[in-house]
Symmetry: C2
Amino acid sequence: MARVTIQDVAQAANVSPSSVSNFLNDRQDRMVAATRDRIEAAIAELGYRPNRAARQLRNGKSQTVGLVVPSVGNPFWGAFAHEVEIAALALGCSVLLCNSERDPDRERRYVEELWEDGVRSIILCTSLPSLDHVSHVISEGLRLVTFDRPAQPHDPESVVSISVDNNVGGHVATTHLLELGHTNIAFVSGSIRSVNRSARYRGYCDAIEAAGLNVADMPHWAGLEADQFGDVEASELGRAAALELFADRATAPTAVVAINDMTALGFCRGLRDMGLKVGQDVSVIGFDDIILADLYDPPLTTVRQPITRMAQLAVSEAVERGSSESTDPGSSVLLRPELVVRESTALYANTISDSFLHVPATP
Amino acid sequence: MARVTIQDVAQAANVSPSSVSNFLNDRQDRMVAATRDRIEAAIAELGYRPNRAARQLRNGKSQTVGLVVPSVGNPFWGAFAHEVEIAALALGCSVLLCNSERDPDRERRYVEELWEDGVRSIILCTSLPSLDHVSHVISEGLRLVTFDRPAQPHDPESVVSISVDNNVGGHVATTHLLELGHTNIAFVSGSIRSVNRSARYRGYCDAIEAAGLNVADMPHWAGLEADQFGDVEASELGRAAALELFADRATAPTAVVAINDMTALGFCRGLRDMGLKVGQDVSVIGFDDIILADLYDPPLTTVRQPITRMAQLAVSEAVERGSSESTDPGSSVLLRPELVVRESTALYANTISDSFLHVPATP
DNA sequence: TAGTGTCAGTGCATCGTTACACCGACGACG
DNA sequence: CGTCGTCGGTGTAACGATGCACTGACACTA
């Protein structure tokens, strides 16, 4: 059961290893049909599979795509990683998984390491405003696809971005709450020093102002000590936000736009700690539509990201850039998010419930 | 910025490449201290990093550990993958991610492919009773660590298993409900043709009988068409179970042991569909303690798996088997799960609520 | 002093694949 | 008929690391 090499195939097909190599690397124009068929048959018969290590050693590239996410422990990123793996498999690639924990330094180290290990395509899920920390690798030829981070003016030319249109996402979410009659709508985000978060916030602001309201009047909860929380802990953040925003019932909002579903869920949990009912006392809308959104009680209204499609796009941009239907380098794909209305948002008219007005202050 | 090779280091240190190789491969006894220091200095100065592809080509092994999970889209597996990556990083390894979708054939294909690509250590999260589908690779020398699947009598000798003690887990969960006074306790599992699930079921049965009750009197919901559902869909399964078990209120249980948290959450969602309140009308206990368990409303009582510890064990068994403190080959590590009481379980005495008795039948 | 052993370090073939440079044969063209 | 171009295919030197088999120097022993 020793390994079948290209030599074995060559021998079986009565050609030189070079020809087999030519066959494998799409230079079939260089040979007559009969030869091609013999090689093909030999490969099939011997069950030959090229040795990745040798290939990679020889030409410095690997068939692996690097995936750098903040943390697969977060259900959104877990789901995305799942979709990426499926898409990569379809293209014959493996996925090397890295968790950056949203640490720019880890991002850089991972990207450098992957590059040095021959990985030439990386899907980087970052939302840092600048790509300076990895630009030196890009300039050496790395195919970088950023996810969840639209292209920025100063990005290196070759970078492709796949993202949802966060601006319209934030707008859609906020408009939904406005249409339900809410006029005191908080934005809960943690730090927004990231391009996707600030875009969502902009969408929120635009919607508020378009409704003739003043953003300055709305509570904006932007985290504890800046960036103290990583990604899995988004829910902790939401929870903390709820406790803080509802400490004073007089000024508390009746509706909340959360930066993502995990934060929204944490917020709901915090509301519960304070004896408030989501979708009754307070309307909460999330972002992402993770599997848990539909499972929650009440099911969470949210803005869905089409992650399957996005994962496919990201992988195909990463591994087959330059092929027929691929995007131009430097382009940015912005997919349209979709509002999913469930039960965590309700008419403002129904919001002023007994429980809201008479609930005792928490200790 | 060309690659620094072992030759460059050798030249800089005034030794032969062989000596550098010796240095790198723990054969430092073969050289005098001064030489060692020179090599060390040269490596540091040039920033040398061994080329993985070349290494792998030469000796057929890679520094990568393969991780085969049912689906990283499932928050439990996502969290586990996260921990595995952290543990692997600490040991200088990368993690290659594969989703088996619980399909034995995909498991086999992935394992074979990883093996052929030089991966010599695989953490396989399977719960298939037999390892026959991968035993041929094991016999060639693969270091296989199974996770969430205790060793079975017919397993190949070299396999190490890391798992929680599912039997006591099931027992602890059930006992908790019994202690709350429940006597009609359902078991919701989907197919239990997997060793961990059947162990949990056994623990459940033991506890029921130890309480002087009869397992035959308890509802056991074991899935729709056997195995129709994958892993992410565990929640769908739970939801379906709820609708079915509570179709007839007369025989419906007052408490439920779910096979895992996702199923439990789905079950809660189903209960909600029927107008029932978890932790009030019905007590529900899960298994795993995923991050969402604490976030849920009501927070889910569950049996926690110590995944950080388990991931560390799995990785260290996979990559450094044979080292000092490692387990004997063929051993099985069973960690103790921990009951986490939250609010989805309640005293039976409090269970017979108005809403339970008078809720209208759903259409 | 010849013989044996140990120590520190090196030469070289090798892993499987690739692509450049080459080669022979045949056809066409001036 | 000689020459050139093209086609189909091959030889070979890498890519970078490894470890066996070896060597030269020195020490110790009989």
